[in-house]
C-alpha cells in the first residue's frame, strides 16, 4: 500500500539540487554562453526635473553596445508602466515610465539603461552619463505628505492618491454612547522584504522562431509574460517566461513589470544577443519597493466587560512615489485590522499619500502587521483602562466557533465580502496561554524582580485572509515510464512547493512520491496562472493539483477497467499499479499511459507490455469524440472567497535596566491553517515569519533624511536579524479548523509568522516597562529615550 503522504514531514525534494549548488536562480541562467550585461543609471535626487541627458561619452567605452534613455523608447514602451490593480478609490493613480520622462520622483528611479560586455564595463559607462537636473523640493514622510505644502505630482492635490472609507454599523454613534472611550495614535515605520537574491532578468530573442524567452526572478511568471508581450508589441504566444529558483520574494517580487523586466527583453531583441540584468543590493534598496509605513488614529468605545461597542480608525498610508500595485496594502490593513473580533460597529477611513520615496508594494503580511498592531494595542489599552487581564478582554470580543461563516460586513482586498470561513479562537487562546505560561507569569515576574531583572509578557491575535482568487490551475501528465510530470503556473520562492504538491499528487494518483516531478512558474507548461503571494499557493495550486491528479486518476481507471475487463468500482491503485481488488489482475500506470494514446509504435518497455491489452471498440474511431489522447489531467480551482487562517503569538521579553536592550526569553505560537500538507514546511514558514517579525518589531526602518536620501541602503546599515537576534527556540502548537472552501481543507501559512510581531513585542515591552508603546520598531536607544521622557511623570 502506498502510505498517505498528506500531513507528514516529507523531506524536501528541492534540497538535493540546492544543497549541491545546482539551483538555477536568474543570474545562473546562460552562464558559459555569450550574454551581455546591463546596468542602470538611477536618479541621485528624490525630486528633480530632467533638463538634459548627455550620453555622448558612453559609447566610447570599449565593450559598450548600447544605451537607452526615455527618448529612445517608442510605442507602448514610451507609455507609463501599468497600474496593475486599479480601484475606484484610487482617483489619482500614478506609475513610473520604464525610463524617467522629464521628472524623477525618488532616489533610485531608472533614467538610462546601458548594455555592455560585462557588468563592470556597463557601470563604467553609466558613470559617464551626464544629466542636468532642476532640483525640486521633495516630500518625505507622512507628515510632509499630509501637510502638502509641496506636491510630489503637480496634478495630485494634497498628495492624496486615494481615500477609502468603509463602515459596518454606526461606529461614531456607538462610541458616543459607550460607557468608556479611548483615543490612540499608533505608528509603524517603513521596512522592506530584502530577499537575499535581488531582482534579476535574462532574455533571449530567437529571430528564427520569433520567440522571446525571459527568465526572471518573479512571483508571477504569467504576469511578466503579459507585460512583456504588451509592451514589446509581441503576441502573447511569442513570449515564454520561466522562473526557475527564486532566492526569496516576501512580496517584493510580485510587482511587475519592473523597468528592467521590459528593458532587458527589448535590448535582447534589438541587439540580437541575450541580455542579463542582476540587481545589486543598493539598487534593491532604492529601486524596488518597501512597505509598512503608516500612521493611525483610533477612537474606541467599550463596556465594563471590555466589549468593543464602536471602533473608528483613521489612517494614513505612505505609498511612495507611485502606485503600480494599487491599494492592496491599506485595504488589507483596513479590513484585517478586525482580527478575530466582532466590534459592535466599525468605521475605517484611510488616505494613501504620495511621497518622494521608493514605492510601496506588499511585504510579507501585507498591511496586516499594521492592522494587528492597531487592534491589539487597542485591546491592551482597554484592558489597562479596566484593570482586566488582557486575555479576558480579547475573549470578550472573539467571534465564537458556532458563528462561522462570519460576515464582517466589509469588502476585502479581492473585492469579495470579508467573510471568515472557519476558526476556533477561544480554543486557540487556551492553547497559547498554556504554551507560554500566561497564568504563571506573575510568579515568574516576581522571581525575576527579586534578582533585579525586568520582564514583560505580551500576546497578540490575528486572522489572515489567505488563498485569494481568482484561480490557479495544474496539469498532470503520466508518462509511459510511469513518471508523473506536474505543472502549476505559480512560482516558488522557497516554500517547498515541489515537495508539497508532489505529496498531494502521490496520494491522489496512488504513485510513489519519487515518481512525481513538479514544475512551477514556467508559462510553457501552464500559461494560465496568477502568482505566489498572499499565502495562496497551497490553497490555490494545492487544490488545483489535487483536482488535476483526480482527473488523471479517473481517466487511468477508465482505461484500466477496459483493459482488465473489470468495473471501475473494483479497481484500486497503489505504488503506480492499478489492480482489480483482491485479484492478481493488474496493470502499470505507465502501460495505461501507452493505452491512452492509440499509436502503433513500441517506443519502450511499457509500450511492449501494452500489446497484451486491447482497448477500444474496433467499430469506432480510436479517439472517441469526448476524449483526447494521453493520460493527463488538467483542472483549475477558483474559490468563492478567501479562506481565513488565524493564530496567536505570545512573547516574554527582558529589558535591561541600564542599556534598554530587549532580550527574548520565550516565544510561543499557536497557529491554525486548517489541514497541514507538510508540518515540517509549515513550521519552517512560521520560524521565518517570526524572524522577519522580530526584525520589523525591533530593528528595521528605512532611514530617509529630509532630502529623500535613504541613509541605510545597505546590509551594513539596515539591521536585519542574524541568528543572534531571533528567539533561541519557538514553541509552536497547531489547531486545525479545516476550510470548507477547498477540497483539502487547507488555509495559507506563509505570512502568519510576521503579522502579530510588532503588536506582541510592543505589548511585552510595555508590560515590562510600564510605559505606553505606540510606535514600532523600538530600538534600545528609543526605549531609553522613552524612559527618560516618562521619568518626570513618575517622580512628580
Amino acid at each position: 500500500m502506498t502510505t498517505k503522504l498528506f500531513g507528514t514531514r516529507v523531506p524536501r525534494v528541492e534540497d538535493q539540487r540546492l544543497l549541491r549548488g545546482r539551483g538555477t536562480y536568474a543570474d545562473d541562467v546562460l552562464v558559459g554562453q555569450r550574454v551581455l550585461h546591463a546596468a542602470v543609471l538611477r536618479s541621485p535626487h528624490a525630486h528633480a526635473r530632467i533638463l538634459d541627458i548627455d550620453v555622448s561619452e558612453v559609447l566610447d567605452v570599449e565593450g559598450v553596445h548600447a544605451v537607452w534613455t526615455f527618448d529612445d523608447l517608442t510605442g507602448p514602451m514610451a507609455e507609463p508602466l501599468p497600474l496593475l490593480i486599479p480601484h475606484p478609490a484610487l482617483t489619482h493613480g500614478r506609475t513610473q515610465f520604464a525610463l524617467a520622462k522629464d521628472e524623477v520622483n525618488h532616489v533610485g528611479e531608472a533614467i538610462a539603461f546601458v548594455v555592455a560586455e560585462d557588468r563592470y564595463v556597463a557601470e563604467d559607462a553609466v558613470g559617464r552619463i551626464r544629466v542636468d537636473y532642476e532640483f525640486l523640493e521633495p516630500v518625505v514622510g507622512i507628515d510632509a505628505a499630509r501637510a502638502a505644502t509641496r506636491l510630489v505630482h503637480d496634478d495630485v492635490p494634497g498628495n492624496v492618491g486615494a481615500r477609502l472609507e468603509q463602515e459596518n454599523g454606526d461606529a461614531r454613534a456607538a462610541i458616543a454612547a459607550a460607557p468608556h472611550t479611548l483615543s490612540l495614535d499608533l505608528t509603524v515605520e517603513r521596512s522592506a522584504c530584502q530577499p537575499l537574491e535581488g531582482r534579476g532578468t535574462v532574455a533571449r530573442w530567437d529571430p528564427d522562431l520569433g520567440r522571446m524567452t525571459v527568465w526572471t526572478s518573479t512571483q508571477t511568471s504569467t504576469g511578466v509574460r503579459g507585460c512583456v508581450a504588451a509592451k514589446l508589441g509581441l503576441d502573447l504566444g511569442q513570449v515564454d517566461v520561466i522562473t526557475p529558483d527564486v532566492g526569496g520574494g516576501f512580496g517584493v517580487k510580485i510587482n511587475h513589470p519592473w523597468p528592467e523586466e521590459l528593458l532587458v527583453p527589448l535590448a535582447a531583441r534589438i541587439l540580437g544577443v541575450p541580455v542579463k540584468f542582476t540587481e545589486d543590493r543598493r539598487e534593491h534598496f532604492i529601486s524596488s519597493a518597501h512597505e509598512r509605513g503608516q500612521q493611525h488614529h483610533v477612537e474606541v468605545g467599550f463596556d465594563d466587560g471590555g466589549r468593543v461597542l464602536g471602533l473608528d480608525v483613521q489612517f494614513w498610508h505612505d505609498h511612495g512615489a507611485y502606485t503600480p500595485y494599487g491599494l492592496i496594502v491599506p485595504i488589507i490593513t483596513s479590513t484585517q485590522l478586525l482580527g478575530p473580533y466582532k466590534p459592535g460597529a466599525y468605521r475605517v477611513v484611510f488616505e494613501s499619500l504620495y511621497t518622494n520615496t521608493v514605492m510601496v508594494t506588499p511585504y510579507r503580511g501585507a498591511g496586516r502587521p499594521q492592522g494587528c498592531f492597531v487592534m491589539e494595542r487597542t485591546m491592551d489599552a482597554i484592558a489597562a483602562t479596566l484593570g482586566k487581564d488582557r486575555t479576558e478582554v480579547r475573549a470578550a470580543n472573539f467571534i465564537q466557533p458556532d458563528e462561522f461563516p462570519y460576515d464582517q460586513g466589509l469588502v476585502f482586498q479581492d473585492g469579495r465580502e470579508l467573510e471568515y470561513d472557519s476558526g476556533d479562537y477561544p480554543a486557540s487562546l487556551e492553547k497559547l496561554k498554556a504554551l507560554v505560561g500566561w497564568d504563571e507569569f506573575e510568579a515568574f515576574r516576581a522571581e525575576m524582580a527579586a534578582e533585579g531583572r525586568r520582564v514583560g509578557i505580551g500576546l497578540a491575535c490575528y486572522v489572515e485572509g489567505t488563498g485569494v482568487g481568482p484561480y490557479e490551475g495544474a496539469h498532470v501528465h503520466v508518462e509511459t515510464s510511469g513518471k508523473v510530470k506536474v505543472a502549476t503556473g505559480l512560482t516558488t520562492q522557497g516554500q517547498g512547493h515541489q515537495t508539497a504538491f508532489a505529496q498531494i499528487v502521490a496520494d491522489e494518483l496512488g504513485v510513489p512520491f519519487e515518481m512525481v516531478e513538479v514544475t512551477t512558474g514556467d508559462t510553457r507548461r501552464m500559461p494560465y496562472a496568477v502568482g505566489t503571494f498572499a499565502s495562496r499557493a497551497a490553497v490555490m495550486s494545492g487544490s488545483a493539483v489535487h483536482l488535476a491528479a483526480k482527473a488523471a486518476r479517473e481517466k487511468a481507471f477508465r482505461i484500466a477497467a477496459e483493459a482488465l475487463e473489470a468495473s471501475v468500482d473494483d479497481l484500486e491503485i497503489s505504488d503506480g499499479v492499478i489492480r482489480v481488488a483482491g485479484t492478481d489482475s493488474a496493470i502499470d500506470l505507465g502501460t495505461v499511459a501507452v493505452l491512452s494514446n492509440p499509436l502503433r509504435y513500441a517506443f519502450d518497455e511499457a509500450s511492449k507490455a501494452a500489446t497484451q491489452f486491447s482497448v477500444g471498440d474496433p467499430g469506432k474511431p480510436p479517439v472517441a469524440e469526448d476524449d483526447e489522447p494521453g493520460l493527463e489531467g488538467k483542472d483549475f480551482y477558483s474559490p468563492e472567497r478567501s479562506t481565513f487562517a488565524s493564530g496567536m503569538h505570545a512573547v516574554i521579553v527582558e529589558t535591561d535596566p541600564d542599556t534598554a536592550e530587549i532580550t527574548i526569553l520565550k516565544y510561543a505560537v499557536v497557529h491554525d491553517c486548517g489541514h497541514l500538507i507538510n508540518p515540517m514546511i509549515v513550521e519552517g514558514q512560521i520560524h521565518g515569519g517570526v524572524a522577519q517579525g522580530v526584525g520589523g518589531a525591533l530593528y528595521e526602518r528605512m532611514a530617509y533624511d529630509e532630502s529623500g536620501q535613504l541613509l541605510n541602503a545597505s546590509f551594513m546599515d539596515f539591521l536585519m536579524p542574524y541568528v543572534t537576534e531571533v528567539p533561541a527556540g519557538i514553541d509552536i502548537d497547531h489547531l486545525e479548523t479545516p476550510s470548507p472552501l477547498n477540497p483539502l481543507g487547507i488555509k495559507g501559512a506563509g505570512e502568519a509568522g510576521v503579522i502579530p510581531s510588532a503588536a506582541v513585542f510592543a505589548a511585552a515591552i510595555e508590560d515590562a516597562e510600564g510605559i505606553p508603546i505606540t510606535a514600532m520598531p523600538i530600538s534600545p536607544s528609543e526605549l531609553f529615550t522613552l524612559r527618560e521622557a516618562h521619568l518626570p511623570e513618575e517622580t512628580a
Partner: protein, 166 residues
C-alpha cells in the same frame, strides 16, 4: 579605453581553471561567470550577508571581497566541492549538507551555500559545538527565510553525523 587583463589559474574544488580577468574582477564573479560555478551566490556585494562564502585553503572568506587575481596559489572550495564525488550517478552529500536536508535548514536556498561552507570550516575547528557555539558559528551569515531555528539544529546534526563517521 582598453582594460588590462591578467591570466590567473584558479584551483577550485580540485580542478584548475585558467581565466583571463581584469584586476578588479571579484572572486565571486570569476567563480560564477568565468568558471561556471554558479553555486556561490552574491547577496550584498559588501561582505555582510555571507551568501558568497567560499573556503580558501580551508578558511571561510567572503568571495565578494576578494579579487580573483589574489586567489591564485590558493585552494578554493565552493559549495559544488562539498559533496563527495563517488563516480556514480550522483554525489554523496557531506555531513553538513545532509544535516541541512534532515533538519529543513533551507527554504529558498540562496544563502545556503554560504552557510554550508561556513559550517564546514566551523566544524573542522570545533567538531563538537554546544548549541551556543553552533549559533556563534553561523552568526555572520544572513538568512531571510528560515529564522535560523533549523540551521542551528543542522549544525548540531552535522557534528553528530561527522562523529558517526559519515
Amino acid at each position: 579605453m582598453t582594460e588590462e587583463v591578467h591570466d590567473v589559474r584558479l584551483q577550485v574544488n580540485g580542478a584548475t581553471h585558467a581565466v583571463t580577468v581584469p584586476a578588479r574582477r571579484l572572486l565571486s564573479d570569476a567563480l560564477r561567470h568565468d568558471c561556471g560555478l554558479t553555486g556561490t551566490h552574491v547577496g550584498c556585494e559588501h561582505g555582510v550577508c555571507g551568501a558568497c562564502t567560499v573556503l580558501m585553503d580551508g578558511r571561510p572568506v567572503r568571495s565578494c571581497l576578494v579579487l580573483a587575481v589574489s586567489a591564485e596559489d590558493t585552494e578554493v572550495t565552493t559549495v559544488e566541492g562539498l559533496a563527495e564525488d563517488t563516480g556514480e550517478d550522483d554525489t554523496v552529500l557531506s555531513p553538513v549538507q545532509q544535516a541541512f536536508s534532515d533538519c529543513h535548514g533551507l527554504q529558498c536556498g540562496f544563502c545556503t551555500p554560504g552557510f554550508l561552507t561556513t559550517i564546514t570550516a566551523g566544524l573542522r575547528a570545533n567538531p563538537d559545538p554546544t548549541e551556543d557555539e553552533a549559533r556563534d558559528m553561523i552568526a555572520g551569515n544572513l538568512c531571510r527565510c528560515t529564522g535560523y531555528q533549523n540551521i542551528v539544529k543542522a549544525v548540531l546534526r552535522a557534528a553528530e553525523l561527522t562523529r558517526e563517521g559519515r
